[in-house]
Symmetry: C2
Subunit: 509 residues, 2 copies
């Protein structure tokens, strides 16, 4: 059977740009994984890893013009957004280099012998070691930040794990370019090419998660694709951790008092957030609980004005466009659902933003309206009008897990009056990040970030953004009674690496 | 259908002692989970949790005589061991109370706004929150320390998670007694009974892991049972973390130089470790690589003497005895396997300890001898005689994951000469705890402990013993732009709870 070609496609026209590669055979996946596995010892030195990540950032910046041009040609996300996303990606690589340098992620804990414990404690020293080769499944919607050089790759390399990336079919040419930059950066530090593998094709992705030498996987994408890979990871003879970010509705609650206070600003802000990147963010607000009554009506008027003014946009590929049109069509047909601004087809290759409304009472019990509680990728949101707090709470209590949950409060509520505390308590169980008076789009790269949430937002309790994302690719090992001469440097009493450590119960810098 | 009775059985006679309970119906499992779920808010206060754990320890100690007597009647482990195990269990409860008080496990990270980051960082504050109701599957071999009041329960309660324990059928009467003590301790702090549920029966265990309100599970037991529950946890509509400790061979390597130096001491130490608790420890050394030649022969002579002197013992139940006899019989029949001390039936209800030998060359490639690389529960170990380091390394490289790996070195090797560093590097990838010149039995309760390892030792990267075991039952939540008045106390700038935190990159006490 001839190898299946991998085409780069222009979503603005639907036309093929060029053939980039061929889909990887099982043998080629095996080769890539074995090369990665063989390269793992080369990543053992933390200083080399940090330097590699910084060089990768530098070289991505040096190649910026060509990368952004290719990314734009394949994603239609536009040079401004893509330039910003590349900058974010480089910032992220450097942030993980800083994390590697500091070394707190090694989680060093030392117990000297203690005969008074029950049972007595021998000399015990624990740190974390890299798991081994990591499979990274790139996302479509962030061709830089959640793709070949994105957070999964950066955090895995930071942890000391080689990666094999399964390229996203929406930007195969960019994937090849970025992988080349990463390998060049690796070579600059004497690291073998195998530290960053790249494979194309659906079947290759399945082979990858099943490969015996793959020790963990990171994924950003759809519930359907992610769950299939999660299931494959769990069904292996030796199951592996599968850190998948699958889908999120990202509910927003606007209190009556907040709507009273600033309906127009909230309506305009919502329009901006839900249409950002043509509504193709994992954290797009997909369900907004707005009070019925005059203040809520004002919010909807502002939302209507702002969404109506939004230009039609190009989605990442034509299949997404088809799914968006089918998804909004099916939702709009439900009883009591209205479309103040109808989302739908723009031109032949574009879509226009819109939003739907529904009485919140339709969402408080099982029924056909549950479709509105599923993510719909693209520039659409659902506004559920609630008549009282109990009704809003009833809807929230039925939601599956989310990456984010947001509440807009009045100044008084933000100061602790009224429903503020109760709403935060309702939102925390259903989300990984809780926002007040903000919008969930825009995910900062920071130690305190958590980009994850209860299933299906994530298949684990981990984050894919921020410093703690490195934890996904490590496991602890304890050393008992190991003489000083044989201890890893991280665990020696004289702390030659200057690591923050917990020693006999005390945290030490 | 009449409810199936749950009998307490005396393994010394095989006779039923009394009917303790009936197996839980699906409805009863649902009741227990709902009661636990309803009780979760009562565990929100850390001070109450810590006090509860300490009271539980006190009341277990107060009930010691009756508990040990019942435990002995059901397990035949003997009052000395069981008294020690109860003390360990109480120590563990108090250690988790200390962990709760200190609060480092909340993993508080704060980023104040930083406009210089790419993209800019808003006010972001992250801590960890309890997952919710935890299912605990008790082990047979530690009726106190890995059962109703064991490490899984203690760490889950410490995390703020109510538990529903699936009792082990080998000690149902003890399980009921211990659950009553825990509930009495809970009541002393105003906590509802539901914080510690208890159910009996195989079907109840399956119901439990499938229950929509169960958010995570902890398990200690067999590969077969654990894998079935792991698979059920992964197959749920919303999968949950399943932290299972399933099985471990716990390889030991004795270097030529170590055997030269102290063959007799190593042989005697091995006999003690492999027969401790009638060989029913998860960390029993099950494969020992001993050099061929005179020094290794001396080691075997010492081992033979010591094992021959070991009294016959009673296993935890008659099914285990049957499995032990079948397992050692099947292994002993393999070509080139010898039995210097034949393990087998002692009296009608006992077993006698023994060990097998095999040339290591039989274990370096796939074949029928792979059976020797599978855990055999009970007082038996396999000694593989190796002719050179490469052969020993070839065996190690074929092992599945282990809780522990041990090496016995000469004084010179311990000082860094010869094979010491290479052996540690070979053992680290296959185990969660690496020991030098010790024995893996005896698992200290300490912050630096790691009782876990690559599959099948564990189904996750977590530990079931030691302070970090609490991490299994938590997930991070980040708060973005949340006004001071609405922030959880853990995340406020003035740090009213005095927690160790990471603020803008700095670790602060």
């Amino acid at each position: 059977m001839a190898a299946a070609p991998v085409w780069s496609v222009d979503p603005r026209t639907g036309k093929r740009r060029e053939q980039v590669a061929v889909e990887a055979t099982a043998q080629e996946v095996d080769d890539a994984v074995r090369a990665a596995h063989a390269a793992r010892a080369s990543l053992a030195d933390r200083a080399v890893r940090a330097a590699f990540l910084r060089t990768a950032a530098e070289q991505l910046e040096a190649a910026k013009d060509g990368l952004v041009e290719t990314a734009d040609a394949e994603s239609a996300l536009g040079p401004v957004r893509l330039t910003g996303e590349l900058a974010r990606t480089c910032y992220q690589l450097r942030a993980f280099a800083d994390t590697v340098d500091e070394g707190a992620f090694l989680d060093v804990i030392i117990n000297h012998p203690d005969a008074t414990a029950t049972p007595p404690i021998p000399d015990l020293r624990r740190h974390k070691v890299p798991l081994g080769t990591v499979a990274v499944y790139a996302a479509s919607n962030f061709p830089f930040a959640f793709s070949v050089a994105g957070g999964d790759t950066a955090s895995a390399l930071a942890a000391g794990c080689p990666v094999v990336v399964k390229a996203h079919p929406d930007h195969p040419a960019l994937s090849e370019l970025v992988a080349k930059v990463l390998r060049r950066a690796a070579a600059a530090h004497g690291l073998p090419e195998g530290v960053v593998g790249l494979v194309h094709g659906f079947a290759a992705g399945v082979e990858l998660v099943r490969h015996p030498l793959v020790t963990a996987a990171g994924f950003t994408g759809s519930v359907r694709g992610g769950r299939a890979l999660f299931d494959a990871a769990a069904a292996r003879p030796a199951p592996i951790p599968f850190h998948g970010e699958l889908g999120s509705l990202n509910p927003v609650v606007v209190t009556e008092a907040a709507a009273d206070e600033r309906a127009e600003a909230i309506g305009a802000g919502l329009a901006g957030s839900m249409t950002l990147g043509v509504g193709q963010f994992c954290v797009k607000p997909g369900l907004v609980l707005v009070p019925s009554g005059a203040a809520g009506d004002r919010l909807l008027t502002a939302l209507t004005d702002a969404v109506s003014d939004t230009d039609a946009g190009v989605l990442l590929d034509h299949r997404m466009r088809d799914n968006f049109l089918a998804g909004v069509g099916e939702r709009a047909k439900l009883p009591e659902v209205e479309s103040p601004v109808t989302p739908g087809a723009g031109g032949e290759h574009t879509v226009s933003a819109g939003f739907l409304t529904v009485p919140a009472a339709r969402l408080t019990a099982d029924g056909e309206h549950d479709l509105l509680l599923e993510e719909c990728f693209g520039p659409v949101t659902v506004v559920a009008r609630y008549s009282d707090d109990a009704e809003a709470g009833a809807v929230l209590s039925r939601l599956p897990g989310n990456l984010t949950a947001t509440v807009h409060l009045s100044a008084g509520e933000a100061a602790g009056e009224g429903r503020g505390p109760a709403l935060l308590a309702e939102l925390t169980p259903i989300a990984g990040r809780v926002l007040v008076d903000g919008w969930p789009t825009g995910v900062a790269v920071a130690a305190a970030q958590h980009h994850g949430g209860p299933y299906p937002a994530t298949t684990s309790t981990s984050t894919s953004v921020g410093g703690t994302a490195i934890e996904r690719w490590m496991r602890p090992v304890a050393y008992q009674g190991v003489p000083e001469a044989l201890l890893p440097a991280e665990l020696r009493d004289d702390n030659p690496l200057g690591l923050p450590r917990r020693i006999d119960g005390r945290l030490e810098r």
